[in-house]
Symmetry: C2
Subunit: 181 residues, 2 copies
């Protein structure tokens, strides 16, 4: 952030009075511009015991496999966001079920919320953000080609829970910055 | 948003190519500035069966009662954010437990994630954002003076679950815009 989105003046980074962290503060109007984590919503779509996966057509991780997921928009719920992303990436209508994983992706300033889901209509296709969409058995999941650690974590917990006949909610934290963890 | 935080040029609101919603787009460098919901993390601190509540010293809803909660920062988990807010508002150290409620507050572009918690040390106090901090029995909760519907929802589900001996996770959506709901 270089310029104030409000008045256009320059930005400095400093700890405002009464605060405890450095913030982007406008040198003109004084507005403090807070930076907060963004929400990603996604789902694991079940298709008669198999799982729908998309091969990404966009960066980052173009060519790698993921479950449908993306940035939550204003004016929607997490469940609506997860279902919308599944429509956009795989042209598939889903019923969203229970939450399966919440992943803090510290290096990306993101929180990923991943739900169980079930295909609600007959068919799916290849959305504009996908190169390919496939329905795979657990044994066919291309683990080395999964796009993100949060997706691999979600798929593993999802399959473990399904095998155990339970619907858990699993938290984890991922930090890929140099020196982290 | 009036000016581009990146280059300082003017902003226009339009649907970018390939997108489906109007966005803030820079007329100079072309950057698309997405607006997404912000995360609020909070907890219901249990003190030997009673609940810790704070009376807000800041707007909005100054003078009304809430559980400790606030904006999640970058570089922390939801649980760390909930515990930090409890320290800042009530000078209380808590152990964060299971998630109790996730509330989509559509009119505020916020998602509130509220956890169960337990006081981890002896004592609490009045943080700078609070006018008063009290530990109350369920019967003493000042329902008409609870600051936000998301807090009332959380407290009701928390108490119902506690009475039933379960640890549920409850979703709801609140929209206070004219014409909503």
């Amino acid at each position: 952030m270089n310029f104030c989105p409000n008045c256009g003046a320059g930005i400095e980074r400093r700890v405002p009075a009464g605060d405890h962290l450095p913030r982007f503060v406008c040198t003109g109007c004084g507005t403090v511009h807070y930076q907060n984590p963004k929400l990603i919503a996604g789902c694991v779509p079940d298709v008669d015991g198999r799982i729908l996966l998309c091969r990404r057509a966009i960066e980052p991780r173009r060519g790698y496999w993921t479950v449908p997921a993306g940035f939550m928009e204003n004016d929607e719920t997490l469940q609506q966001a997860a279902a919308r992303e599944c429509w956009e990436e795989a042209l598939a209508r889903v019923e969203i079920g229970s939450p399966c994983a919440i992943v803090h992706v510290l290096h990306a300033h993101q929180v990923h919320v991943m739900f169980r889901a079930r295909l609600a209509g007959p068919g799916f296709g290849v959305g504009v953000e996908s190169l390919e969409v496939r329905v795979v058995t657990p044994g066919e999941i291309p683990w080395p080609e999964i796009a993100f650690p949060s997706v691999a974590f979600t798929l593993r917990r999802y399959l473990e829970d399904r095998a155990a006949g339970r619907d858990g909610l699993h938290f984890t934290t991922i930090d890929q910055r140099p020196g982290a963890g």
